[in-house]
Amino acid sequence: MSDLKNTRPVKFRGGGFAPTSRRWVGFVVFAVLIALAEIGTQTGFITALTLPKPSDVLQTFIDLYNSGLLFTHAVPSLTRLAVGSAMGISVGIMVGVMIGLFSYVRAGLVPLVAAIFPIPKIALLPLFVIWFGIDEGSKYALIALGTFTPTVVATYGAVDNVDRTLIRMGQSFGLSWMSIVRKIVLPGAMPGILSGLRISLAIGIILLVAAEMLGAEHGIGAYILEAGSLYDLERLFAGVVMLSVLGVVVSMAIGVVERRVLRWRS
């Protein structure tokens, strides 16, 4: 053992597999991609028909802002998303909790939810137009239904995962059924519900655009459709950028809520 010539430090093998926060990397990736596109289009390596110049897209965006059209399109879209997903998510959480708590509700509704989940909701838009009218009603309904199913699935999964020993503890101290649900089951399911919301809201944005493409005067979807049919790539990309920004903002908002509500989870 005491072979001094062969002394060397033990090799470190414990690295990796531990995600840490690297905020700026996301921005760098965006910036590099946009810079590459800009250089490519400026030099002519990428033709104007393949991809618009990022600087032109930015200019279109500024024009959009100055003419006030940005808000004409963004405000109705945001309202639809907010109203529709608020309906879908609140009903979804309610139904999900019921499925988690009652065996009969579970037996009855889980197959139904499984049947609704894979339907491309956009295929139902004509039906919703008949039921709820060509105006906002059908769009709310579509987004609500689209956000409802993933929320239900995430919620009952989360309720199933609440630590049973905590529920037994509640019972052993004589807590009422309502208290156990409100103070133990719901907070315990909150992490799962919130991560389900990320998926639900992304689906909500997709459906919002689809609904607006099929019949709306204003809205980001209508704007993209109009630009697309004129092959106006700058405007098309300006619309797509709006959607991406919306997605990032929603995801960040959920992140903020998670950090506030789930502070106990370190």
Partner: protein, 255 residues
């Protein structure tokens, strides 16, 4: 308030867990239940507190719980069962809110039990910030808050390291010496049993039957870590259990 178990039998499906258990739990005493693993100790405790129903036989409550008692049969769990999203204070208030206790009265009870378990400085800490021993002290404080008639303790020290265990045993003894409480204390640790038990119930391996009830006469406050007479009693218990413990260890789990 005494508890009496009469002719308790319990099975899961066809799997007999407990057989013919008759036991008296007198007021003001700590009864320890020991036995080889899988002998139904914890099941027995769940039956006593009404978290499970025996297949046959009855758990009887003799007399009324003393006045002011909010939850006569109160558990202390092995894994503490604290809500991670509530502070120490919040975890205690959880079990009082349902009894309509609010405001100043609530705070008075919380301050009192935190002082008795030496947790006053940690009222606003979250469970994740506490060590295992502290978490169990919070669970004990929570149990004291509802002024139980009988404490049902399911291996309360088994998740802790041996040093913390010593400290918590001292805490339990001093709590009992100030105000004697009734407790059923399930453990697999014979040292804990001889330190804390007024009598020790030895269960056989599954199906669990009472093999012997061993009395420990020395007063709790005079028992110390490493007392020779306690060690003799611990050895006696171990001799009773050794062969069964070995057999139980070699058994296939059928769950």
């Amino acid at each position: 308030m005494d508890i009496q178990l009469s002719n308790i039998n319990h099975s899961y499906d066809k799997f007999e867990v407990l057989r013919d258990i008759n036991l008296d739990i007198p007021t003001g005493k700590i009864i320890c239940i020991v036995g080889p693993s899988g002998c139904g100790k914890s099941t027995l405790l769940r039956l006593i507190g009404g978290l499970e129903q025996p297949t046959s036989g009855q758990v009887l409550q003799l007399g009324n719980a003393p006045a002011g008692c909010l939850n006569p049969l109160t558990y202390i769990f092995q894994d503490f069962a604290l809500l991670p999203w509530r502070t120490v204070q919040g975890n205690i208030s959880l079990v009082l809110e349902d009894h309509g206790i609010r405001g100043a009265e609530l705070q008075k009870i919380i301050d009192d039990v935190l002082a008795r378990t030496k947790l006053t400085d940690f009222a606003n800490a979250l469970p994740k910030q506490l060590s295992g021993g502290m978490k169990q002290r919070v669970a004990i404080a929570r149990a004291l808050a509802v002024k139980p008639a009988v404490m049902l303790m399911d291996e309360p020290l088994s998740a802790l390291d041996s040093q913390t265990r010593e400290l918590l045993m001292d805490d339990l003894v001093s709590l009992w010496s100030r105000t004697p409480f009734t407790a059923v204390y399930v453990t697999h640790n014979l040292a804990e049993a001889v330190r804390l038990g007024h009598s020790i119930v030895v269960l056989s391996r599954r199906p669990g039957e009472i093999r012997e009830i061993v009395k420990v006469d020395k007063p709790l406050s005079e028992r110390k870590h490493g007392d020779t007479d306690l060690e003799a009693q611990q050895k006696y218990l171990w001799d009773l259990m050794r062969d069964e413990a070995r057999a139980a260890d070699a058994e296939l789990l059928n769950v």
